[in-house]
């Protein structure tokens, strides 16, 4: 495997959850987006595929966990939801739930997901294998991966 300068954080597996974070697991059950916006003390929110995560903007400081649901793997709206959260500066946990395929986990990690609790638990080894498969990325996303064009132009790196 070529060195992309993108080390993969070690995942831990507990129950049916695969987690790429080492902070304490938020233990409050996630509530719906509407409920979250109404309850000023809630800190875990559940995003359905059609929800607009940008509504969390004004209250982002109190969010510790965002669960993003995939009702079926064909529904890719959650990818945008996660990336938008990271673009807004959200640093807390983003958990993928529902119909999550191991072969899409790499893309999900790149969009900012850092925990996975799908309906059918993922095998940690399969996940690590699929995360290690591609040595590079062609474009930037919500992760720290350095895109190929930057590797090709080291003279621009500090520009």
């Amino acid at each position: 495997m070529a060195d992309s300068g993108n080390p993969i954080p070690q995942a831990t597996s507990e129950g049916n959850t695969l987690r790429f974070r080492d902070d304490p697991v938020p233990d409050e059950p996630a509530v719906s987006l509407d409920a979250f916006l109404d309850q000023s003390n809630a800190n875990s929110v559940r995003i359905e595929a059609g929800d607009d995560v940008r509504l969390l903007g004004p209250v982002l400081e109190r969010v510790r966990l965002v669960e993003i649901d995939f009702p079926k793997f064909r529904d890719g709206r959650g990818f945008s939801s996660a990336r938008i959260l990271r673009e807004m500066g959200y640093k807390g946990e983003i958990k993928a739930t529902g119909d999550v395929l191991v072969d899409l986990v790499w893309f999900m990690r790149r969009c900012g997901f850092d925990s996975f609790a799908p309906d059918v638990p993922l095998n940690l080894e399969d996940v690590q294998a699929s995360l290690n498969r591609y040595p590079h990325v062609y474009q930037e996303a919500a992760d720290d991966a350095v895109p190929i064009w930057k590797l090709r132009h080291p003279e621009l790196q500090n520009g």
């Binding site: 064909r74 395929l101 699929s130 062609y138 132009h153």
Partner: protein
């Protein structure tokens, strides 16, 4: 043309291994076909009526002789000795075994080819003007941008499960040879009043069961902002498209439901946001890619005249040659539409012949046209006779470019699980009816396009004459459409009236064509006459 560097090689090789592992898990029974389906589709592998079909990407329709020979080798080794060029400039093999697919991808990777994102709900292979880099009328070669966008859109994480497929085309001329406005997202490279190069951007086109012609969403986009703009379009669509009905999830439907103005407003808002993230590729990366597309070393002082003493050759020259930007050179169109053949099909031996010709006479370059023909882009006029002789010996010298027998037809019920009717036999019967070369030339430019179901892979919406096969009470029935176009005057064909059976549709086409001959004015093509006289003038002839 573009050369892979270590990074491109590493990514394509990783894809081969990724897919090899997925096939292994499928064959070992660790995955159901339902689970495997979305994975194989991202690699261009479809399950058809008789076997797997593998669609190989030919980015912006450009190939060299090494790649063409590899395609021939794969056809011989893993298929039945032929391949099929498609309306999106790709190549399909129709008789593939699942267990061979990873090895085929491995062979393709050796020659810098792949099948990444050639199917499934993804950003598909990018198509371009097949005369790119050679056309006398282009303002620049559009392929460096097509290649840059290919890299931008390869494995885009946020858009790994789009609502539906997403097709992009790029051209750089006034004349549209790529059916630009039938794409989801289309770019015409233009210069503004200040002389700066940018993109005229079209969005929301597509054929299928609900056809829409793309609208101009932005008259001028600075080239360096294309990734931001493209991501904005994709994000608005990805977030807001319907997800409840696969037939209403293409971007054209969202554009239609929101309205062009509102879609544009949302895209602009998201575009400003993406610009602020600073993810656009720098000019230096575009320049690196563009350097691979430096024009070949055209010789100066070559003769312009062509020796036309052989009358068969002269006929071919008049039909198959297009104007080249360099003096003394010509663009050669190779017809893959022999009268009794299957449009777009080519044998492995013919592929080798074409590869040899490209190597010897065309700076090692070949193009695939969306009309399912091939192109030798840079041939010295002095070499045309030798090229023609070789093509003739290989059965590739038909002189029917853009004529009534240069038909686009989808694979239809002979191959496809979606089809309601056969397309290929209808195309063959029409070609047979109009086989007389003099009759074809008298009729002039006339584009017939045939689809075997409403998914419109045969582009019937864009045919001067379109034919749509449907299933009516268990029998194949064909609707006739008139007035479509995929050129710079894009228009959507309209249904003439009640449908016909297989022989009836051939007669109906002939009646429409004869009506054109009766009423045409000097210099008018079929499409011009239709646009002047309208449907009524033709209906009467077709239905009596």
């Amino acid at each position: 043309m573009y050369k892979y560097d270590q990074y491109d090689h590493a990514m394509v090789r990783a894809r081969v291994e990724d897919f090899r592992d997925q096939v292994r898990r499928r064959l070992a029974g660790q995955m159901t076909d339902d689970q495997f389906k979305p994975l194989r589709l991202k690699n261009g592998l479809y399950l058809q009526l008789h076997a797997y079909m593998l669609r190989v990407a030919i980015p912006y329709g450009t190939l060299n002789s090494t790649q063409m020979r590899k395609l021939a080798h794969i056809a011989r080794t893993y298929d039945r000795g032929y391949g099929h060029f498609t309306t999106r400039q790709n190549l399909q093999y129709h008789w593939i075994k699942l267990e061979d697919a990873p090895n085929i991808l491995g062979e393709l990777a050796e020659v810098e080819m792949h099948a990444i994102q050639t199917s499934g709900e993804s950003i598909r292979n990018i198509s371009a003007d097949h005369y790119a880099g050679a056309a006398a009328d282009e303002i620049m070669d559009p392929r460096p941008w097509a290649e840059t966008i290919r890299q931008m859109t390869t494995f885009m994480p946020e858009f790994s499960y789009l609502p539906r497929k997403f097709k992009i085309a790029v051209i750089a001329a006034e004349a549209d040879r790529a059916a630009l406005r039938w794409h989801d997202f289309a770019l015409r490279i233009v210069k503004n009043d200040a002389g700066e190069v940018g993109f005229q951007v079209f969005a929301g086109g597509g054929m299928g069961r609900t056809p829409f012609i793309a609208y101009e969403i932005r008259p001028f986009l600075p080239t360096g902002q294309i990734l931001s703009y493209l991501q904005a379009v994709l994000r608005v669509w990805n977030r807001h498209a319907r997800r409840d009905n696969i037939h209403k999830q293409r971007m054209k439907i969202l554009v239609h439901e929101l309205g062009e103005e509102e879609f544009r407003r949302q895209v602009e808002e998201e575009f400003q946001h993406f610009l602020s993230l600073g993810e656009d590729f720098p000019q230096a990366e575009y320049d690196r890619i563009a350097a691979y597309f430096t024009p070949p070393p055209f010789e100066a002082g070559l003769p312009e005249e062509i020796d036309r003493t052989d009358p068969d050759f002269a006929v071919w020259v008049d039909q198959q040659i297009a104007a080249h930007k360099a003096p003394g050179y010509a663009i050669v169109n190779i017809s893959l539409k022999p009268i009794q053949g299957i449009g777009g099909d080519i044998s492995a031996d013919q592929m080798d012949v074409v590869a040899d010709l490209a190597e010897r006479y065309s700076f090692d370059e070949l193009r695939v046209a969306h009309t399912q023909n091939l192109v030798l882009p840079h041939v010295r006029k002095a070499d045309l006779y030798a090229v023609w002789q070789s093509l003739r010996d290989a059965g590739l010298a038909d002189a029917n470019l853009d004529l009534v027998t240069d038909i686009i037809a989808c694979p239809g019920l002979d191959y496809c699980t979606l089809a309601n009717a056969r397309s290929i036999p209808v195309a063959q019967k029409i070609a047979d009816r109009f086989a007389d070369p003099e009759r074809q030339r008298d009729l002039g430019e006339l584009k017939i396009k045939i689809s075997g179901c409403i998914n419109a892979c045969g582009h019937h919406h864009a045919g001067h004459i379109g034919i749509l096969g449907v299933d009516r009470k268990g029998t194949e029935n064909y609707q006739l459409l008139l007035g479509g176009s995929g050129d710079e005057t894009t228009s959507q064909a309209k249904i003439t009236g009640p449908g016909f059976d297989e022989d009836g549709i051939v007669d109906a086409v002939e009646r429409a064509v004869e009506r054109y001959r009766e009423v045409r004015e000097p210099g008018e093509r079929f499409l011009d006459t239709y646009r002047r006289v309208g449907m009524e003038g033709f209906k009467e002839a077709i239905y009596g």
